[in-house]
Symmetry: C2
Subunit: 255 residues, 2 copies
């Protein structure tokens, strides 16, 4: 746990950067002390539920390694993944008794957990840290709105391309300061989860990816691992809703 607050953690995908939230806490002895006292690291296996939808679980925290899926389910069983959380993102619904979404382990993972009550008390004592959390929530809102554009407007091919680019750049972030442009995409989730995230079906995902391979956009090494052969083409196929791809993306927010 101390490691989390003093240096980056090593995970299977390389060095993970600290979340702004932890960086802030690590820089102040008092904060670090307090945080360590309420934190506990827990491991979850793929498929395990961390927080149930509509459930009164008082758990919040951050991803250390692995991937969480944030999802909603309809009474008849249809479901939608409304977010994927990679390290070092925060998870859990602060300031609400019940969570409107389920949080599940999409892969085996390790989480830094806090009881919600203790975490909120901590935030109340330290407004500047609460501010960091607000920034994280705002980022999540931006991501959700971007995904609404995808779900509302884009054809399946564009959705898959957008998803692959997202994963690709996700991997870039893990590289830290020496971020090298990745060519390899490691999809950490099943076709089914991809489909639930993208608002389509596993069969359609499969067909689309095979089609990309046939067109020379990417090479399939195995079902969860691809080499991107033509990122510009992939960006074009994604509908270019995000960054143009060529330019090094400047941080959107600075305040």
């Amino acid at each position: 746990m101390e490691a989390l607050l003093s240096t980056s953690e090593r995970s299977e995908s390389g060095r993970q950067p600290l979340h702004r939230f932890f960086a802030h806490c690590a820089a102040d002895a008092t904060l670090r002390e307090e945080l360590i006292r309420i934190a506990h690291v827990r491991g979850f296996s793929s498929g395990e539920t961390i927080v149930g939808e509509g459930e009164e679980s008082g758990l919040v925290g951050a991803v250390i390694s692995g991937v969480l899926r944030v999802q909603k389910t309809m009474p008849d069983g249809r479901q939608q993944i409304v977010g994927l959380l990679f390290a070092p993102n925060l998870f859990g619904r602060v300031f609400s008794r019940v969570s409107p979404v389920a949080i599940e382990a999409a892969t085996d993972c390790r989480l830094c957990c806090f009881s919600r009550a203790a975490f909120e008390a901590f935030l109340a004592r330290h407004p500047s840290v609460e501010h960091d959390v607000m920034l994280a929530v705002l980022d999540e809102l931006d991501a959700a709105q971007e995904w609404m554009l995808l779900l509302g407007c884009k054809a399946v091919q564009e959705r898959v391309a957008s998803f692959l680019l997202m994963i690709l750049h996700q991997a870039d972030v893990g590289g830290g300061a020496a971020r090298r442009r990745q060519r390899m995409v490691n999809v950490p989730i099943t076709r089914h989860d991809m489909a639930v995230y993208l608002g389509t079906t596993a069969e359609t995902i499969s067909r689309t990816i095979q089609d990309f391979a046939r067109r020379g956009v990417l090479r399939i090494i195995n079902p969860q691992r691809f080499e991107v052969l033509d990122e510009a083409r992939l960006a074009f196929l994604s509908g270019r809703a995000t960054d143009p791809g060529d330019v090094d993306e400047p941080s959107l927010r600075s305040a």
Copy 2:
């Protein structure tokens, strides 16, 4: 402006409740004073842009009357409304230099505006108020995730039913303490905007509503005004079932 902070404002749709944010500020003379000094009320006509997408507009605030649409546009012109803002909601992207979404007047409206810089400085001086803003952002995130479920999973019929129920309950909120269950739905936006919000087309919206009327779920008074004849049925059609009272109704999908 003072009225905004001391009592509810009257609008065409009845008494609007204060946002928690304003209620908080109104209760404290210092806060009220400060806020009034940086606020200015502005009117916008339907169709006007308040903040452009990707633009560096330093404007944030709250809706006093009318409706704002929050939308994103793709390079080829396809667009998605990612949120509708009614009074007394807050608008604008705090703590970000550029707004990732456009904010436009969906109807004629009056807004309580702040320069983003001044507003952020105000929040920095008053963490408890910033906390209120965080709660508002969290609510917005919940709404966005709910809408992702709608866009990713629901058939058009369910989307339209969900939308009508949302507007219906929106009107209820306006009733304040004495909230009477509304039967009349006033859709404040065009069919086209509804379509962009629901990820479909104006024609399909029109067909669906006519179909609802034919089935006796609602009565069309004019294109923007309906009487809900069977709210339980409408709730069932929205997919947010859990309604054992309604026996039949061939649901399109069941599991």
